[in-house]
Structure formats: C-alpha cells, structure tokens
C-alpha cells in the first residue's frame, strides 16, 4: 500500500540468498546504504522521518499526514527519507511521526496534523528550534 507515497526502494532486483554468508553480505550492504555500517560516511546520512502507519495511526489520519509531509519536504527543499512504520505502542497520541536528524537524538511527535507537520519541518528540521508536542519515548529494546 501507499507505494505511490514512498521514496524508499528495494536495493536492487532481489537475488536469492543461497548461503548464510550471502545474508550477512546483504545486511552489510543495507547498513552501508543507510550509513550505519562500519565504513558508512555519516556526513552522507540524510534526515529520516518515520510515520506510524498501523491501523491506529491510519484511523487517526496518518495517511494524510504522510502525504502532506512528503509534499512539504519537497516544497521546502528538505532532503528527507520519509518512510512508514508500524505502531510504536503509543496509540493514544496518533498520528505520530519520528524525526531522526543525523547527529541529533530522535524526536517523536504526537497528535500530528498538517499544521504540525509544517511547524516541525520549518521550526525543528530547518531552524533547529524546539517544537511542542514531543512524546517521551523511553522503552528499552533488545539492542540497548
């Protein structure tokens, strides 16, 4: 779904993974592409914006928020990778978006509408100012 909205493509035409080593190579390749691998050049990382697009998010209007977000990023010439995710578990605050600016801590904003999207892009992403509506996310996962 929403393939028309996504600017995230498969790495290449999928080739079958025939060994465990192939799988490891694929993981390295993905990490490299996302600039997170050992040899990844951090300066090339771009802003990532994730939109919660599970049933709870979509029911609260996440589809429109994502569409507007992509349009506004283009409009304001912000080079960002906008992608969908599932539910972060904070259903009460949907629609939610997470903004990851290289070198900064990820920020999650709740109750996002079009007006808020503009505010986040203009004030937080472009100017680096504080924007209200942050949802404190502090769970541990298996990796930390």
């Amino acid at each position: 779904m929403l393939s028309e909205l996504k600017n995230n493509h498969h790495l290449s035409i999928m080739t079958k993974i025939k060994t465990l080593t192939d799988l490891k190579h694929l993981k390295d390749k993905i990490q490299l592409k996302n600039g997170l691998g050992k040899s990844g050049d951090k300066s090339e990382q771009i802003i990532q914006i994730k939109v919660g697009m599970a049933t709870c998010g979509i029911a609260s209007g996440a589809k429109e928020v994502m569409k507007y977000l992509i349009e506004e990023c283009e409009h304001l010439a912000v080079d960002a990778n906008v992608k969908q995710t599932g539910c972060l578990g904070y259903c009460y605050a949907e629609p939610m978006i997470e903004v990851l600016i290289p070198g900064s801590k990820p920020k999650v904003f709740g109750y996002v509408n079009n007006k808020k999207v503009r505010e986040i892009i203009e004030n937080y992403i472009i100017k680096g100012e504080q924007v209200e509506g942050e949802i404190p996310i502090s769970f541990k996962t298996i990796n930390n």
Binding site: L11, L26, A54, Q84, G89, S138, F139
Partner: protein, 489 residues
C-alpha cells in the same frame, strides 16, 4: 505521564521502528539470521532445547511451554506436518497481535520457519481474521519478499529444508482462537471445538500433526535464538520468563501497547506506563484475560504479573488485553457486558455454554434492572460453577470468570443493586431516580420543555414533578436545570 523505562521490548522490538513492507529493514535488524543459524548450525533437537531452556510459554493465554509443544509435535511420526500461527485475536480491547503483524510481520514468518525446521513441517499456515485487512496485506507483502529472497521456499539458504507459508482467513469468531475450532475452521468445517485429546500436535490440520502457536509467541522466538536461552530466561519471574505485551485500554490516559518483563506489577503498567486514570478519577478495577479473565481491585495492584500469580488472584494472563475501569463503571454491568460477548461468540455446540451463559445473562439483566434478589447472586455462583465444570472448551470453561470475579471482588455492588435498589456507579438506568426538590424549583419550565417523554408536569412559577412511571432516566432535566433543583439518587 512518564514511562521510566519500565518497558522492555522483545516481541515489539521492531514495531514502529522499521518499515514492515521492506524486508531489508528487517534484515538490517538481524532478521532471518536466527533462521539461518538454526538450519545451518543447529540440529532441530538443539533448537528445541534452546526454546525449552528459555522458558518461553504460549502468549495466547494458555501459557503452555513452547519448547515442549514443539518437541511433542516433532516426536510424532508423520511425513506431513503443519505449523499454524494463531492470529485470531478476538478479546475485546486486545490488539497486540495485530500490531505485531502490522509492524513486524517478518518476525512471525521467520519463527514459523524455525518451528517448521524443528518439528519437520514444510508448510506454515497463518489463521488470521478477515477484520485485519492491513495485517493481511502486510503479511502477503512479507511472504512475497521473503520468497523472492529465498528465505522462505525451497532449499532455504542452500540447505535441504523447504518451507512455504500461506494465509487462511477466519470470519472473526472468538471461539476460533481455540486451537481445535481454529483447525476445523481452516479445514472448511464449522468453527467448533472438539474434545482433546487428541491434541493438534498428534492430530491437527487434515489429521496431521500440527503445532499451533500465537503471534506473540512466534515473535519472541528469533530473539531467543539470536541472544540465547540464558539471556531470555534471566528476564521475568521464576515460572514466567521473558516479557509480555499488554494492550492497555479503557479509562487509562495512555491507551496503547506496553511490553514489560514478567513480574512487573499492575500498578506500574497502569499508572506509570499507562499514565493513570483519565481525568484523575479513581481507579476501580482492571480486567485482564478478556472474557475469560477476571476483574481485579486496587488491592491487587501490586501483584507482580505472571501466569501463575494472576490465576492465584482469580484472573488470568490471557492474551494480554488489559481494560481499566474507574469509579463510574458498574461492575455488575461490566460482568453483563462480558456475558453478552460470550453469548454472541458461543458456538452453541455444548449445552452448558449455550444455555447456561444465556441464563447467567438473564439473571445479570434482572439485577441491573433492579428486579434482582439476594438469591439471584447465589444462583449466579452455582450456575457459574456448573458451566465451568461441564463446558467442552476453554470458552465455556472460562466464560463465568467475569461474573465470579466481580461477585468475589465487588460483592457489595451486587448487594447494593438487589438490597438497596441502587447502582453505586450510577450506570444502571433502571435504578436511577430523578426528583425535583420543591423548595428549589422556580417553575421556570425549562425541564418541562426539554423532557422528551412528557414525564414532567407543573404550572409556570410553581414546583414541577417527575412522573416516575414515564421517566426514561435520560438525565436531560438534570443537565438543563439552572437551579440545581433536580436530584439524582
């Protein structure tokens, strides 16, 4: 409103963080490495030992040790076996499995393949309710992508292990979460349970050995393989290892999902992660285990959550629904609500469940209408016990639990209904009474003009009256009166 890292996410590790429609996102998080490790480096026995040592128990509610289930299914000789994922999530207010399938479908696919490798199955079936269209679509995409990469299909990672996964749709019947009913539904038969034994591990789908696990159980498996059983079994309590996802709903501020280590208290989940009760009202009860569980009072808030503790206090873990109630909720009405659900969802096969629950519901209805007696409360208890003892499947065996637990924990509310003719929470309309206080009534006629049934009479500038036989207790007069001249008792 803060969540001071009470949450620890294993089953939800990728939910909300990765794009569920991009297999590369999953692979980046070590996705399919557990499957690779199993089929290339470990024997099925070694994998089963690892799962057994981890202490993982079924997350669908039963709490049966997962590794043991795999071992039993493995040890049954047959050239055709099946792995089934139970995604027939049906408890009111529960949405853990949907979120996992929508947010991280590959974790379930990977674990099903691991299970298939262990028990000797080449086919996995996901039984999912048609009411979850987004989860279905994301599963379809995930299966297609995994097939394209060869991570599901023939000769996975160059081994001789073949495994394919297909979807089977349910029509959203609660009883089809019971594994024998689920299997019958998949076979195209009526979704009715049958007596166990034989267990599905011996004779399941199409009469073949079938291993049925829940979505959340599967989602935990790859982590156990990657991190090791000894990492997993250090989390949780003595008999309940790992974490459990709860769907917080009801009168709680932060409605959503919470995954916590076993042994976390209800108080921590409701007040710290859940942010407490809406509008600062007083907590009254928490319902765990869905229609099969029980309603616990504030006295149980400090009970560490695990399978055994919740059963000991008269509720159960269930699949993870957690519905919070405040001072405005009537516990008799809540019990009636759950019975209504059970009545709708009973398959009707056995008498105790089909007829017994109907009678329970009638008695509860009588009590909430103000016509109940103390004897009715006794009848509820006796009938509940009979239904529990004589029903065929889990649905009937647990359906009276909300009634029994509310009588045990909120007996005074039942008594107030039958002895005093009062509903303490003010929810049971038949027991409410609106009256006009003559001294305060100015005869403004506002209530008279708004009453939808013409139950209020009186002359202008003189006190009005409510005809109790006509009043439908809508409360409009109470809201409209500017002189606080109407009382609610």
């Amino acid at each position: 409103m803060t969540d001071p890292k009470k949450q620890f996410r294993i089953a939800l590790r990728n939910c909300g963080l990765i794009d569920p429609e991009q297999i590369e996102d999953y692979i980046e998080q070590d996705g399919y490495f557990a499957l690779g490790k199993c089929i290339i480096e470990l024997s099925p026995e070694m994998v089963i030992d690892e799962i057994k040592n981890s202490g993982l128990r079924g997350r669908g509610g039963g709490g049966f040790p997962t590794g043991l289930k795999w071992e039993i299914t493995k040890n049954v000789e047959n050239n055709q076996k099946y792995v089934v994922c139970n995604a027939d999530e049906g408890d009111p207010g529960a949405f853990m499995d949907r979120s996992i399938l929508e947010g991280d479908p590959h974790s379930v696919l990977e674990a099903m393949a691991i299970c298939g490798y262990c028990i000797g199955a080449d086919t996995g079936l996901i039984y999912i309710r048609a009411e979850y269209p987004l989860a279905i679509e994301r599963l379809k995409i995930a299966i297609k992508q995994a097939e394209e990469y060869g991570l599901i299909g023939d000769e996975i990672l160059g081994s001789d292990f073949n495994f394919k996964i297909e979807l089977r749709y349910g029509a959203g019947a609660f009883v089809c979460g019971e594994e024998t009913a689920l299997i019958h539904s998949m076979e195209g038969l009526r979704g009715e349970p049958t007596f166990k034994p034989p267990f599905p591990s011996v004779s399941g789908y199409m009469g073949k050995p079938t291993n049925v696990n829940n979505v959340e159980t599967f989602a935990s498996v790859p982590v156990i393989i990657n991190k090791g059983a000894n990492w997993f079994n250090k989390i949780g309590t003595e008999k309940s290892k790992g974490t459990k996802v709860f769907a917080l709903a009801g009168k709680v501020n932060n409605v959503g999902l919470a995954e916590v280590p076993m042994g976390t208290t209800l108080r921590e989940v409701i007040f710290e992660i859940g942010g407490g009760i809406i509008d600062g009202k007083e907590f009254k009860s928490v319902q765990t285990g869905g229609p099969s569980g029980g309603c616990l009072t504030k006295d149980f808030l400090d009970v560490p959550i695990d399978y055994d503790n919740l059963i000991a206090v008269g509720s159960m873990m269930g699949s993870g629904g957690m519905i919070v109630m405040d001072e405005d909720d009537c516990m008799v009405a809540i019990a009636k609500f759950y019975l209504e659900f059970t009545l709708e969802e009973s398959c009707g096969k056995c008498n105790p469940c089909r007829i017994g629950n109907k009678r329970l519901h009638e008695i509860l209805d009588k009590i909430t209408s103000g016509k109940g007696t103390e004897e009715d409360i006794e009848k509820l208890k006796i009938l509940s016990d009979v239904i529990k003892d004589t029903s065929l499947c889990g649905l009937g065996q647990t359906s009276p639990n909300p009634v029994l637990s509310t009588i045990a924990n909120f007996g005074h509310e039942y008594l107030a209904h039958v002895k005093d003719g009062k509903c303490p929470a003010g929810q049971c309309k038949s027991l409410l009474r609106y009256d006009i206080i003559e001294d305060l009534c100015t005869g403004c006629t506002l209530c008279f003009r708004h009453c939808p049934v013409g139950a209020i009479t009186g002359e202008r500038r003189s006190p009005h009256f409510i005809d109790q036989s006509l009043c439908i207790k809508c409360g409009v007069c109470f809201e409209k009166c500017k002189f606080n001249a109407i009382t609610l008792t």
